[in-house]
């Protein structure tokens, strides 16, 4: 078992009323799964993903990640945990505009105490694996959306995470680019055994996964 959510609640108080963003979420994810989270706008998909990614907190419930109880951890430990095991892919790529492709890939490694030579080797390996060696000296603005997301995925993978969290990874892409990214996810999942949780609006994309979770008003349905 990779992670487990038990009776997770998350709410905000607005105008004297408690509005639930997540309501009684129970979820268990095994290593090697490829899960798609679906649901209408405002149903809590991104919130759930952020909670799983430990970028956001929750108000009630338990969260176990590997052997750790995330809900009891201090912020510093939490960030160490996600740094080590989780990679993120965003709808709008979130590449740093001022960094070239290879520098964007290198960036996460800077915060993980890798030596310069190790970093270069890992970046070179990743460029190779994603077939973007020729683009390594370009800035994000010089790439197409699909290529940018390719770099985004490569960056998420560079530190060998166990889990990839992708928030509408193809939301800004056309159908052909989407197809390529989903094929890539599928390969990563099947060949390298990476666990993937993606948020998506598209039935077609959801079909790449092994399991679909539907959310409505913060509840799993």
């Amino acid at each position: 078992m990779l992670l487990q959510l038990k009776n997770i609640f998350k709410w905000v108080n607005s105008g004297g009323q408690r509005i639930f963003l997540l309501k009684d979420i129970n979820l268990q994810v095994e290593e090697g799964e490829f899960i798609s989270v679906m649901g209408p706008s405002g149903s809590g998909k991104s919130t759930l993903l952020n909670v799983i990614g430990m970028l956001d907190t929750f108000d009630e419930g338990e969260y176990h990640f590997l052997d750790e109880s995330v809900h009891t951890l201090k912020e510093k430990h939490r960030s160490n945990l996600y740094k080590e095991y989780i990679g993120f892919v965003f709808q709008s790529y979130h590449l740093l505009d001022d960094l070239k492709v290879y520098e964007n890939l290198e960036m996460p490694l800077l915060y993980k105490k890798f030596k310069g030579s190790e970093r270069r080797a890992m970046v070179a390996d990743m460029l190779d694996r994603f077939n973007i060696v020729g683009k390594k000296d370009l800035f994000p603005a010089q790439l197409s959306g699909g290529q940018q997301q390719l770099v985004g995925v490569a960056r998420a993978l560079i530190a060998n995470p166990k889990l990839i969290l992708a928030d509408e990874p193809t939301g800004n892409l056309n159908s052909q680019q989407s197809e390529e990214i989903m094929q890539l996810f599928k390969r990563l999942n099947e060949e390298d055994g990476v666990t993937i949780i993606q948020v998506t609006h598209s039935e077609k994309n959801a079909a790449y996964g092994s399991r679909v979770i539907n959310l409505l008003d913060g509840r799993m349905v």
């Binding site: 952020n50 970028l55 956001d56 960030s79 740094k83 993120f88 965003f90 979130h94 590449l95 740093l96 505009d97 001022d98 960094l99 520098e103 290198e106 960036m107 996460p108 800077l110 915060y111 993980k112 960056r155």
Partner: protein
């Protein structure tokens, strides 16, 4: 990691060029002005430090009941050296004599100083040619300053060259050339020994007695001896020698020479003004820097979010910001050094006639100063954004949201307030200084400053002064016959050039009254008439009742201080009991004989009848109203006929008087330029801030426009806030400025009033400039098509 941060810094500043330029230029200029201040203060604090035995040098001051004076009695030093063994060295400086000196065709009237043999061992002037040892031993040997040497000898060595004295067969031999440091209290053009002086001008022996005070005196005490230890011996010297013997209450005070400059000479006002300006400019620049860094940081929140997601910790973020602000600070420092050495310092030096140079600073001090400035500006300006960045919430970062928007809004506007407070203070300062100068120049001088022409006799140019005197007589008589000229007079003083010659007087018969010190001047018979000075009672020297011998004309201040209501029947005694008696024959109005920043002193004009007209300094000519140009033409014509070899030098009386106001003109120039700079920098900051504010309010503007707001209404809405902040800045600036300006005006005997409109116009100027800056941005924001901004992301 450092490489990564620097890379990001360069790419980011390249992308935001305008922000980067505003930062660097502002900070650079701020640093440059700060350096000028430091250099000036350093120069001021290290005054006289080149003297190796500075801590043992003392300047003698005589303390009387009426006041103090650093002019000392001529026999004091020899007596002290004889009676007080603790005094190991000493020198007098006598600077009251002038001679025509020439080398080939190069001839000038020079102020020749006479000094004792100890001069070059008391003071450690660095010799450029020759050496200090026994340099004035030989009679007629002289030491000159470097500028003096180049004036006469150009670039050729001066050592051994001879300067002719007057037209006689007497020559000075140059035995040394010294580089007088810019921060030396003692300066000279040419010095020679007392013996030489005594031979050249025998009269100086007469004024070296136990009454007259014509010389400055410096002594060197033995190591470890304090002035208080020789107090009794000094009191003894006074008791035994000062007149009246045994009764004189004068105290002899030893002013440590190391403290002399700060206590007596230093221009504290200029230091304060410079400090306000330098700190003001630097803070405006720092505020800009912090502001723009925040704006820039906020636009990069997403970047921070992404980094945090990928494992960047608080310390990484702080480090990145610090690297960026330190790098900006470093570039600003380099630019500041360039601006400083290429523009600011040369301008300041030429404006104030100084020779400040960075090289004069101790290299370690300079290094520490520059490093300190860099670290300070870098860390200080990086502080706010790093706190803001590192505290922000990760998820919000990723969505590009900024935390604590309201708070930072106030923080940003408070910085606008600070900047405009400084700008308004500087603008009102500029106006006030200008007004005071105009007030002084425009103040009724109470003499005719329109029709009086003053010609210099230039007595020193003539070999045979008796021949020249006869020619001068011819000129004056011919001028007087002209219909353009109403009056002509020879005089030793003219407004703007009154000797600092004082003596004490008391009214006869009333010995209880304290003495009064009168400033003495010698004038010809028609002086008051020619200058158009009003007589309040009695008459001038032009009416001869019996004899003009021993008569005096007092000004109103002197009359008031003596308690005289009319001139008639009053008699003054000069100096001590049994001194010469003078009849007061007239009282004149308090006319401006010196700059009106100083209080009017009691003046005494004495009549002098010079047989040789070349003994006068000036020939004054009053033309008929409106006939000045004809009078000048006539003067030129007569002069060139009779003195073909000595070209005429003439001026108008107010020109000489206005020299007294030059310092204020300089200060005014300084403040004006820096005010402009301050406003420019503030506006640059405001511009950037406004563009950011507008960018953040585009959505609001769009919604308002969709709901029917007109462009004018939007403009009013957007500008309202800025008007509010500037109004607040105005309220803060007025009391500060009012206080500073009234303090400054305290130093003037005659001062302009501080009107409300000075502040009002400074505030209005600031407001107009600020609105002009902001309105462009507001207008751009107001005309945007709402469809574009309301389109959902």
């Amino acid at each position: 990691m450092l490489k990564h941060n620097l890379k990001l810094f360069f790419r980011n500043s390249n992308r935001n060029k305008s922000t980067f330029c505003i930062n660097v230029i502002g900070l650079g200029v701020g640093i440059a002005s700060f350096l000028v201040l430091v250099l000036y203060v350093y120069n001021d604090l290290t005054y006289n430090h080149f003297n190796t035995n500075l801590s043992n040098i003392y300047r003698i001051q005589e303390v009387y009941e009426e006041g103090t004076s650093t002019a000392t009695k001529g026999l004091l030093l020899p007596q002290m050296q004889q009676e007080i063994p603790e005094i190991v060295n000493g020198t007098r400086i006598f600077d009251w004599d002038g001679h025509r000196l020439s080398y080939g065709d190069n001839a000038f009237l020079e102020n020749v100083f006479y000094v004792d043999k100890g001069f070059f061992s008391v003071f450690s002037f660095p010799f450029k040619e020759g050496g200090a040892n026994g340099v004035l031993e030989e009679k007629y040997s002289a030491v000159i300053s470097a500028p003096f040497a180049s004036k006469y000898f150009g670039t050729t060595p001066a050592l051994g060259k001879q300067l002719q004295l007057g037209f006689d067969d007497v020559f000075f031999t140059i035995t040394g050339v010294v580089d007088i440091p810019g921060n030396s209290s003692v300066t000279f053009d040419i010095v020679t020994s007392y013996e030489t002086g005594g031979t050249l001008s025998p009269w100086i022996k007469d004024v070296h007695d136990w009454y007259n005070t014509f010389s400055e005196t410096y002594v060197v005490l033995q190591d470890g001896v304090r002035p208080s230890q020789i107090g009794n011996k000094l009191d003894n010297i006074v008791k035994e020698n000062f007149l009246p013997a045994g009764e004189n209450k004068t105290k002899i005070n030893l002013i440590p020479f190391s403290e002399y400059h700060a206590a007596e000479e230093s221009n504290q006002t200029l230091i304060i003004i410079l400090a306000i300006i330098a700190m003001g400019i630097l803070s405006i620049a720092l505020v800009n820097f912090i502001n723009l860094t925040i704006v820039n940081a906020l636009s990069r929140t997403r970047e921070i979010g992404v980094k945090k997601v990928h494992g960047a910790l608080k310390k990484h973020i702080v480090k990145q910001i610090m690297v960026e602000s330190l790098a900006t600070g470093f570039i600003a420092l380099l630019l500041g050094l360039v601006v400083f050495s290429a523009i600011l310092l040369p301008t300041f030096n030429s404006l104030f006639g100084m020779e400040l140079a960075l090289q004069s600073l101790n290299p370690y001090f300079l290094g520490a100063l520059l490093l300190g400035l860099w670290i300070f500006t870098g860390l200080f300006s990086g502080m706010v954004p790093s706190v803001l960045w590192s505290r922000s919430k990760l998820i919000e970062n990723l969505q590009g949201k900024i935390t604590a928007t309201n708070k930072s809004g106030f923080a940003k506007h408070s910085s606008v307030i600070v900047q405009f407070v400084i700008a308004i203070v500087l603008i009102s300062g500029t106006i006030t200084v200008r007004r005071q100068i105009d007030f002084m120049i425009g103040k009724n001088p109470k003499f005719d400053n329109e029709n009086v022409i003053v010609a210099q006799t230039d007595f020193w140019k003539h070999k045979d002064s008796e021949v020249a005197s006869r020619k001068l007589d011819v000129i004056s008589k011919e001028l007087l016959n002209s219909p353009f000229i109403s009056s002509v007079n020879f005089t030793g003083s003219v407004p703007g050039d009154y000797d600092e010659n004082y003596n004490t007087f008391y009214p006869i018969g009333e010995s209880i009254l304290p003495n009064i010190a009168l400033r003495k001047s010698y004038v010809g018979k028609d002086y008051f008439k020619t200058l158009g000075i009003d007589l309040l009672s009695g008459h001038g020297f032009d009416k001869e009742p019996t004899s003009l011998k021993n008569t005096v004309v007092l000004n109103k201040t002197a009359m008031d201080q003596l308690g005289f209501s009319t001139a008639e029947g009053q008699i003054l005694v000069e100096g001590r009991k049994g001194g010469t008696q003078y009849r007061v024959i007239g009282a004149i109005d308090d006319f401006s004989y010196q700059g009106v920043q100083r209080p009017t002193e009691p003046l005494a004009h004495f009549f002098a009848d010079m047989e040789n007209l070349m003994d006068w300094d000036y020939l004054t000519i009053r033309s008929e109203k409106g006939a000045t140009s004809q009078a000048i033409a006539l003067l030129r014509e007569k002069w060139s006929v009779l003195f073909p070899d000595a070209p005429l030098t003439y001026f108008f009386t107010d020109e000489k008087l206005n020299i007294y106001y030059e310092e204020y003109e300089r200060v005014n120039t300084l403040i004006t330029w820096f005010s402009l700079l301050a406003i420019m920098l503030s506006c640059m900051g405001l511009f950037a801030l406004a563009s950011n504010t507008m960018a953040r309010r585009t959505k609001e503007i769009g919604i308002r426009k969709v709901n029917g707001a007109t462009i004018a209404q939007i403009l009013a809405l957007l500008n309202k806030d800025f008007v509010k902040w500037i109004g607040l800045a105005f309220l803060i600036a007025v009391p500060i400025s009012w206080f500073a300006m009234s303090q400054w005006l305290e130093g003037f005997a005659h001062k302009t009033t501080l009107s409300w409109w000075v502040f009002a116009s400074a505030g209005a100027a600031a407001l107009v400039i600020a609105l002009a800056t902001v309105s462009w941005q507001s207008f751009k924001a107001a005309v945007v098509n709402p469809v574009e901004v309301l389109r959902d992301e």
